[in-house]
């Protein structure tokens, strides 16, 4: 068992370096090295229409991509579905019905039959953007994690029933974490009475973010929690749960923060300032959640990719061990950050739920 477990990191490292050597080979194409590394990083940070693992330039000077094509789903006067392999990474024009589509900088534009993209003076494409509902790389990663979580925790629940509440196998690893979320995050922040209503949301969000963060550290090159739309969705859920479960006391605190401590006419000048601030606070709380998670994961990926890129800038025997050592250290910090960000998101969500769920008798 131990041998098997030790083999996995080795395999991961081997896989990592195969994609790095492909980066090294590509530099021979003669482009500026720094811009190329920059392009690599920004390409990695974005969502993609296919699950590409690595790419290289073959002997004939042609760029070869290795990966899995994903379905492209467009809504443009009707539903249009085709495989992303037809887009040929921006080189091909896809004809579907009477319209043509082309991939340009990660976005699918509607073009004419030759695939011409028009630009305005700021170098932004002026072509029409169809509504893109594609199953992209990020969506696939989220689906994988969702299925993994579903089967993992469903089987865990079943094993608890069979063993009369004694953890078995992987449950021994997850039980302390679940208990930590319950006893250290939910209970003190939400309160003994109501915490159980929020437990399912908190646990789901905690494991979803944690697993996605960890998936982002694998050499698969997915960056899901570092995508602002994903964190926006997660923060939106927190926002909805907070405000839809808000008690009367919660809304009184926002709309009448001073309560009976003052006469109503002396409250008016204060409330002109206070109530807008309180209302803004409702929005700022989930906003800070979404920015924090997004920025942390995005920054981690940028730092890691830049350190790997150093290897190709130094071009000396010193560069590779230096870049490897730094990247290794940052990877280990990122492992911690992956857990920490999931923890902080859950923790702050629980704190906000605690505000929303508070009852009158608390004061």
């Amino acid at each position: 068992m131990l041998k098997k477990a030790n083999a996995i990191p080795l395999y991961v490292f081997a896989f990592f370096f195969t994609s790095l050597t492909s980066l090294a080979k590509e530099n021979q194409s003669g482009k500026d090295l720094k811009t190329e590394i920059k392009n690599y990083i920004s390409h990695h940070l974005e969502d993609a229409h296919d699950f590409s693992l690595f790419s290289f330039t073959n002997n004939l000077g042609k760029h070869v991509y290795v990966g899995i094509p994903l379905p492209v789903i467009l809504w443009d006067e009707g539903l249009k579905v085709f495989s992303s392999s037809k887009l040929k990474h921006g080189e091909g024009v896809v004809k579907k019905g009477s319209s043509f589509y082309k991939l340009e900088h990660g976005k699918i534009y509607k073009t004419d039959s030759k695939g011409k993209i028009n630009y305005d003076e700021n170098n932004h494409p002026t072509n029409k953007l169809p509504i893109d509902l594609s199953i992209t790389k990020g969506v696939v990663s989220m689906l994988i994690i969702a299925f993994l979580m579903f089967f993992l925790f469903a089987s865990l629940a079943k094993s608890y029933k069979e063993n009369h509440g004694i953890p078995k196998g992987i449950g021994r690893f997850f039980e302390p974490i679940v208990l930590y979320v319950r006893d250290e995050i939910a209970r003190p922040n939400i309160g003994e009475k109501k915490y159980s209503y929020y437990m399912n949301f908190l646990l789901t969000v905690f494991f979803f973010i944690w697993f996605l963060n960890l998936l982002g550290l694998t050499p698969l090159g997915v960056n899901v929690t570092g995508n602002i739309s994903v964190t926006f969705g997660l923060a939106l859920l927190t926002f909805l749960v907070t405000n839809l479960t808000g008690t009367k006391t919660y809304w009184f605190h926002i709309l009448d923060p001073l309560g009976n401590s003052m006469k109503w006419y002396s409250k008016i000048p204060l409330y002109i300032i206070l109530i807008p601030i309180e209302l803004l606070g409702i929005l700022i709380k989930p906003f800070s959640l979404l920015i924090r998670l997004y920025a942390n994961m995005q920054a981690g990926h940028i730092v890691l990719m830049s350190l790997i890129g150093l290897m190709f800038i130094f071009k000396s025997w010193l560069g590779s061990p230096l870049s490897f050592g730094l990247a290794f250290a940052i990877s280990i910090i990122e492992l911690l950050v992956a857990l920490l960000q999931a923890y902080i998101f859950t923790m702050l969500s629980a704190l906000y739920f605690g505000f929303a769920a508070e009852d009158h008798e608390h004061h």
């Binding site: 250290e184 800070s288 920015i291 924090r292 920025a295 942390n296 920054a299 920490l340 923890y343 902080i344 923790m347 702050l348 704190l351």
Partner: protein, 58 residues
């Protein structure tokens, strides 16, 4: 760019102080370890958020 650097220095000092004070507090009250750690992480996360806001503004 210089501004972002200054913000990072500030954030580094801030997080350093939070961590240092938390260590001190744990030293004084080892029983309150869990509570101090939670408060420390929340404060550190808030400071860190400002740093990222500055970095992304560049």
């Amino acid at each position: 760019m210089v501004g972002a650097g200054l913000v990072v220095i500030g954030v580094g000092m801030g997080i350093g102080r939070i961590g240092g004070s938390a260590m001190e507090a744990i030293g004084r009250q080892p029983d309150a370890y869990g509570k101090i750690q939670t408060a420390m992480l929340i404060a550190a996360a808030l400071v860190e958020g400002i740093g990222f806001a500055a970095l992304f503004a560049v």
